[in-house]
C-alpha cells in the first residue's frame, strides 16, 4: 500500500472535492432568493447548524497553524482551544436566542443588517460592514493561500505530475470553492460544512490514536521527551509564559462570540429550542477536531528532539510531515481531505459574509438599493474570490498581517457591539461607532508598525479591553437611546 501513498492521498482529496461540487449542484435547487443565499431560509436543523458553527470556527489555522504553534512553543497555544467551552457558553447564553429573535424582524440577511436594526443607525451598519470586509479579505486570502500550498505539496509529490506552480493550484482550489459558493450560497456552505465537519472529527480521532501508538509509552513518553529538553514546554504555560498564555485565553474565551462567520449561523436555525442541542453538538465537534492540533504538534516536537526525525525547515510543515511519514496512506488521505475541509469550511463562510457586506450592507448604509440582488450576490462572490486570490498571490506580507489581524479585530469590534449591545438596552450607536473604529485603529496600527507588546500580551486582548471599556462607558455617559418597539420586544424576551 505504501507504494500507492500519493495516489491514495490524491484520490481522497479528489473525492472530497467532487463531493463538495455535488453538494453545490444540489444546493442550487434550494437557493431561490437572497434569504436562501445568505440565511439558508432560516430552516436549518440541529446537526447542520452545530457542525457549521464548529467547522467554521476551526479553520485551516487549527489544522496547520495549531500543530505548528505546539511544535514551536509547547503547550502555550493549547490555551486557544482549552477555553473553547467558555467561549461557546458565552455565545449561546448571550447570542443564540437573541440573534434568532432579531432574525424575525424585517428579514435581515447579515450581521451588519441586524446591527442597524438594533442601533437604528446606518453609519453603524456601514462601519460594521467595513470591519467585516477588511477582516474577510485577510482571512479569505490566508485560507486560499493555505489551500493552494497544501494542494501543491500533494500534486508535486505524485509521480504523474512533474511540477505544478502555486498559481495553478490556486486556480484549481478557488474554482471548486467558488463553484459551490456561487451555486448554492450559504445552503451549499452549511451542508458542505456538515460533510467537512464529519471528515474533520473522524480524521482527528484517528490521528490521536496514531500518535498514542507512535511511542511505546504514549503521551507520557512524549511528555517526558519534551520535558527533559525544556520543562517549560510541557508545562501548562508552554514557553510563551503566563501572561502571553492568559491573554490568549482572554481573547479566545471572549472573542469566539465575536466571529461574524460563526455567529451569523445563529440566525439560521429553524426552531428556537434547537439552540440547546446545537451547543453540545458544536462543543463535541470542536473538541474532537482539536485533538489533531495537540497530538501532531507534540508528536513532531518529540520526534525531532529525540532525533527520530530531522529538523523541520518550517514549523507550518509539522502536520503535513507527520501525515506523510507517520500515518498509513488511507489515514493520510482522509486527514488531507479533512485539512481541505477545515480550510474550505471557513473560506466559504467568509465568502458569504463578505459578499453580504459588499453587495448589501455598504450600499444600504449609503442609501442605495440593489435590484436583482440574487444575481449580484453571485457576481460579487466570484469577484471577491478573485480579489482574495490575487491578494494572496501578490501582496506578500500584507496577507499575513491581515490574516493575523482578523480574530482580534472581529473580537474587539463585535463583542461589545453585538454580544453586549444586543443584551443591554443602554448601549448607544455612538458607543458602537467609536468601538468599531477603535478596534480597527489599534489592530491595524500595531500590526503595520510591528509594535511589540511587553510580557508577550496578545494585542487582541488589549484592543478588546479598550473597545469594551469605551463601549460601556460612552453608552452610560450618552443620552438614553431610542429603541424600535419590535427590537425592544426581542430584547425583553
Amino acid at each position: 500500500m505504501e507504494a500507492f501513498r500519493n495516489p491514495i492521498i490524491l484520490g481522497f482529496v479528489a473525492a472530497y472535492m467532487l463531493l463538495t461540487v455535488l453538494v453545490g449542484i444540489w444546493a442550487l435547487r434550494k437557493t431561490k432568493s437572497t434569504q436562501d443565499f445568505f440565511m439558508a431560509g432560516r430552516d436549518l436543523g440541529i446537526m447542520v447548524t452545530g457542525f457549521a458553527v464548529f467547522s467554521s470556527l476551526l479553520s485551516g489555522f487549527g489544522f496547520v497553524g495549531g500543530p505548528a504553534l505546539v511544535y514551536k512553543m509547547g503547550m502555550s497555544s493549547v490555551w486557544m482551544f482549552v477555553c473553547v467551552i467558555m467561549g461557546f457558553n458565552l455565545s449561546f447564553f448571550l447570542l443564540a436566542k437573541r440573534l434568532r429573535l432579531f432574525a424575525e424582524i424585517g428579514n435581515p440577511i447579515s450581521l451588519p443588517d441586524v446591527v442597524r436594526l438594533r442601533y437604528d443607525n446606518a453609519f453603524t451598519q456601514g462601519l460594521m460592514a467595513l470591519a467585516i470586509i477588511l477582516g474577510v479579505l485577510g482571512y479569505l486570502a490566508t485560507q486560499i493561500l493555505a489551500m493552494s500550498i497544501v494542494l501543491q505539496e500533494i500534486l508535486n509529490a505524485s509521480s504523474f505530475i512533474e511540477y505544478i506552480s502555486i498559481g495553478y493550484c490556486m486556480l484549481i482550489s478557488c474554482s471548486i470553492l467558488v463553484f459551490y459558493s456561487i451555486t448554492g450560497g450559504i445552503v451549499a456552505s452549511v451542508y458542505t460544512d456538515l460533510v467537512q465537519g464529519a471528515i474533520m472529527i473522524f480524521g482527528a480521532i484517528l490521528i490521536f490514536f496514531s500518535v498514542l501508538n507512535l511511542f511505546e509509552g504514549g503521551f507520557q513518553e512524549i511528555s517526558q521527551i519534551i520535558g527533559q529538553d525544556d520543562a517549560g514546554a510541557i508545562g501548562p504555560w508552554g514557553t510563551l509564559g503566563t501572561m502571553g498564555s492568559l491573554s490568549w485565553l482572554f481573547v479566545f474565551m471572549m472573542g469566539g462570540a465575536g466571529q461574524p462567520h460563526v455567529i451569523t449561523k445563529m440566525m439560521m436555525y429553524k426552531n428556537i429550542s434547537d439552540a440547546k442541542y446545537i451547543l453540545p453538538t458544536s462543543i463535541i465537534g470542536y473538541f474532537f477536531s482539536a485533538l489533531l492540533w495537540l497530538s501532531i504538534g507534540l508528536a513532531m516536537r518529540a520526534l525531532v528532539i529525540s532525533g527520530m526525525h530531522s529538523e523541520l525547515s518550517n514549523a507550518d510543515m509539522a502536520a503535513s510531515v507527520y501525515l506523510q511519514y507517520y500515518t498509513n496512506p488511507i489515514l493520510a488521505g482522509l486527514v488531507f481531505a479533512g485539512l481541505f475541509a477545515a480550510i474550505m469550511s471557513t473560506a466559504d463562510a467568509f465568502l458569504n459574509i463578505g459578499t453580504a457586506a459588499i453587495m448589501h450592507d455598504l450600499p444600504n448604509a449609503i442609501g442605495i438599493k440593489i435590484k436583482n440582488d440574487l444575481f449580484w450576490a453571485r457576481v460579487v462572490t466570484f469577484i471577491l474570490t478573485v480579489i482574495a486570490a490575487l491578494f494572496a498571490r501578490y501582496s506578500g506580507d500584507l496577507v499575513a498581517i491581515l490574516g493575523a489581524f482578523g480574530w482580534g479585530t472581529f473580537a474587539a469590534a463585535i463583542v461589545p457591539v453585538v454580544v453586549i449591545g444586543f443584551n443591554w438596552k443602554r448601549a448607544t450607536p455612538l458607543a458602537a461607532n467609536v468601538c468599531i473604529i477603535t478596534s480597527l485603529l489599534i489592530n491595524f496600527s500595531v500590526k503595520i508598525l510591528d509594535i511589540k507588546v511587553p510580557y508577550a500580551i496578545d494585542i487582541g486582548a488589549i484592543s478588546l479591553i479598550t473597545s469594551m471599556l469605551l463601549f460601556v462607558s460612552i453608552s452610560l455617559l450618552s443620552k438614553k437611546p431610542f429603541i424600535n418597539k419590535n427590537v425592544e420586544a426581542a430584547m425583553d424576551l
Binding site: M73, S223, G235, L246, K276, S313
Partner: protein, 168 residues
Amino acid sequence: MKLKVDAFLLVGLIFLTLVVLYFLITTPEVSYYQTLHSEFNGLMISGRTANDHSSYSFIFCFGMIWVYLGSLLLSTRHLIKQKRKNIQIVMTCFCLVYLCLLGLLIFSKDLNLQSFYFGFPRSTAVMLYLIGFSPLSLSYIYIRYFETLIITEASFKSFQNFIKSQDK
C-alpha cells in the same frame, strides 16, 4: 439588593484596564524571559515566567474572569427576580471555581516530571482536563434549564405572531 450588571461590568473593565496599563508601564524584563532554542533551526522557543510574577498574573486573571462574568450576567436581565438571583449565584460560583483553578496553576511552582496523569505532568493535566472541561457544567445548565432560563417554544411563537401583527 439588585445587582447592577452594567455597573459591575464597567468596574471590572476599569480594573482590567488599569492592570494592563500597569504591566505596559513597568519594565517587563525583570520577570519574563524568552529565547530561541539553540537547536532545531531556531524554530522552537524557550521561555519562562519568573516566580515573582505570579501575583501579577493572578490579578490579571481576576480582572479577566470579572469581565467574563459581567458579560455572562447580561444574559440574565430578562428573568424574573428569583430565577435571576439563582442563576446569577450559579454563574458567580462557577467563575470563582474557574479562577481558583487558574490560581492553582499560576502559584504551583514546580513542574513534577515524575508523576503523570493521563499522559501529562500534574499541572498540565489540571489545565487540560479540569480547566478545559469544567465549563461543561455551565453548558449543562444551559441545556437542562433552557425553557426556564432562555426561552420556550411557545413564547417564541407568540413573538413571531407579534412581529407579524406589527408588519400588517
